[in-house]
């Protein structure tokens, strides 16, 4: 029994989501190997080799993998799959893009967004925006799965000393190419790894108004989140969306400002340890999940909160 974890990285840094996926893979009971596919990504492989519990790192360093195109990465994973009983990726947009392509090429079903592993073939996953949890058993010989970061603690980033093995490229089918990327630049912590998140919704009213959220976030060392309505209205970019179809987060503290608490938003944050809601409508459904609710105008309460800290 051995599992292969697809590393999440940007060729320079190993992303923390990888550490949660390693913990999940270790729960399957066998050796854990990590695949780093990229270009000029030796530093990432070095970091992966230090993760506690990782037995080997497979390094596919090739110009073809400079950008993680599913059409190029999936055949590589498939070419390595023979040695593994399970292939695991974090539920990131990368994992979601690549893994079903791997699964279909291997003719196995994928188990998406696993939050708990009961046995090497039995998994718990949320369905219906997290309003139900399904326990499923896979009959496929090889398991292909994506795992939700909040379901598994991060493996320690140091303590390991795995060997790094170069692996050969599987070629590029040449049917797709990378054009450009517009990445949000921010010094704030990443949403899915942040201890505290301050989120704004439609109640913010404008993009400019988000500055009070950002200012509070900076005081707390927090990440900034948003509801779909705030993103759709153009107040803030899509990478901030929390929810069923955005990012799933579970920080120590989640502060929701001007967010009503639709099921689809709750799906992304209701596993937070402590939830604070600031909303001027005392009937807003967000108060049903909030540990501490403050019925107030956010334009007064948010700056006051920042001052009171």
């Amino acid at each position: 029994m051995a599992a292969l974890v697809l590393a999440e990285h940007d060729n320079k840094e190993l992303k923390p989501a990888t550490l949660n996926a390693v913990t999940a893979a270790a729960k399957l009971g066998g050796d854990v190997h990590v695949l780093v596919a990229g270009s000029g990504c030796q530093a990432v492989a070095d970091a992966a080799a230090k993760i506690e519990g990782v037995a080997a790192v497979l390094l596919a360093d090739d110009e073809a993998y400079a950008h993680p195109l599913a059409e190029v990465i999936a055949p590589l994973v498939v070419s390595l799959a023979g040695d593994y009983d399970a292939i695991v990726a974090p539920t990131t947009t990368n994992g979601k893009n690549i893994m079903p392509r791997v699964a279909a090429q291997l003719d196995v079903c994928q188990v998406s967004d696993v939050i708990a592993i009961e046995a090497p073939d039995t998994f718990v996953r949320p369905i219906y925006a997290g309003n139900a949890l399904a326990t499923v058993q896979s009959a496929d010989a090889k398991k292909v799965m994506t795992v939700r970061g909040t379901g598994f603690p991060a493996a320690p980033a140091s303590g390991g000393s795995a060997e790094i093995r170069p692996v050969g490229g599987a070629g590029n089918p040449g049917i797709s190419s990378f054009v450009r990327q517009e990445l949000a630049k921010s010094d704030r912590p990443e949403l899915t790894a942040a201890k505290i998140i301050v989120s704004g919704g439609r109640g913010m009213g404008s993009g400019e108004a988000f500055s009070i959220i950002e200012s509070l976030a900076d005081k707390l060392g927090a990440a900034v989140g948003a509801s779909r309505a705030a993103v759709d209205a153009g107040f803030i970019s899509n990478d901030h969306q929390v929810g069923q179809t955005g990012k799933i987060v579970a920080p120590e503290l989640y502060i929701a400002c001007g967010i009503s608490g639709a099921i689809q938003h709750l799906a992304g944050m209701k596993d937070s340890k402590v939830i604070v809601a600031i909303n001027k409508d005392e009937e807003a459904p967000i108060f049903q999940v909030a540990d501490y609710g403050l019925v107030a105008d956010l334009f007064e309460a948010v700056p006051a909160l920042e001052k009171a800290l």
Binding site: A70, A103, A132, K270, Y292
Partner: protein, 249 residues
């Protein structure tokens, strides 16, 4: 170019689902069902491509029970030209859905297949990528902009860190994200017209696809409930609670 749009009948996004007492699934009796919201976006995108002269025909396809005909009629009323129902009352997993869709693609030869990025019931987020793998086609998942550029397709994708644009050879697969477009409502005359549009009913066996599930659902449970919280009266009280009661500051 033909565009194929797979649409799924799912529980309406406004319905609060209830888990059945015997833990075999969620209660779907007498609840409102609708087209998966991401599939409405897919239908809309296909119609816009046709309106722009980039496509000639739009075929909607659904795999599901007889009632999925209603979902297909909705797609026809929005502007799809004809529809195919692959009728089954069985559980059809994403891989089997993808295999059926591949068979439809082989028969219809579309230049583009637009799917939703995920169905809001099972939240699998797999079918489009699997179909792309089976066909050996490129995939533009989580799309927020889709442009035809000669014999290529330029797709801007919503990714974790922001946006990414890729260029795909046609034929290709696209899966829709929320901000690709705002779907139109079908007008009454169009709903009437849709009743006369062609809707073929097939069976999985017609395509020779084995749809036996690979996953066994052992049980479906409610997630743990959060204990109710309290309302605080002021910002000061909130800060005090966060520091001294919750210990998160």
């Amino acid at each position: 170019m033909k565009i194929l749009v797979p649409v799924k009948r799912v529980i309406d996004y406004n319905v609060k689902v209830r888990v059945k007492a015997d833990k075999t699934g969620v209660d779907l009796a007498n609840v409102k069902m609708s087209m998966n919201p991401f599939d409405e976006i897919a239908v809309e995108e296909a119609i816009r491509k046709k309106e722009a002269g980039e496509a000639e025909e739009i075929i909607a396809v659904s795999i599901g029970p007889q009632q999925a005909q209603e979902t297909l009629r909705t797609a026809l009323a929005m502007g799809a030209d004809r529809a195919i129902l692959i009728q089954t009352d069985d559980t059809v997993e994403p891989l089997a859905v993808a295999k059926l869709l591949k068979a439809v693609v082989d028969a219809e030869q579309p230049g583009l297949v637009i799917l939703g990025k995920q169905a809001i019931d099972d939240d699998s987020n797999q079918t489009g990528q699997m179909l792309a793998a089976l066909l050996g086609w490129p995939q533009g998942t989580f799309a927020s902009i889709v442009k035809v550029a000669g014999d290529k397709l330029e797709v801007t994708r919503e990714i974790d860190g922001g946006l990414e644009t890729v260029s795909l050879n046609l034929p290709a697969i696209v899966t829709t994200d929320l901000r690709l477009n705002e779907p139109r409502y079908a007008s009454l005359p169009n709903i009437m017209k849709a009743k006369k549009k062609q809707l073929d009913v097939k069976a999985p066996a017609d395509y020779g696809v084995d749809t036996a599930p690979r996953l066994k659902t052992l049980k479906v449970e409610e997630p743990p409930k959060r204990a109710g919280g309290i309302k605080v009266k002021s910002v000061e009280e909130l800060v005090d609670k966060l520091k001294n009661e919750a210990g998160v500051l």
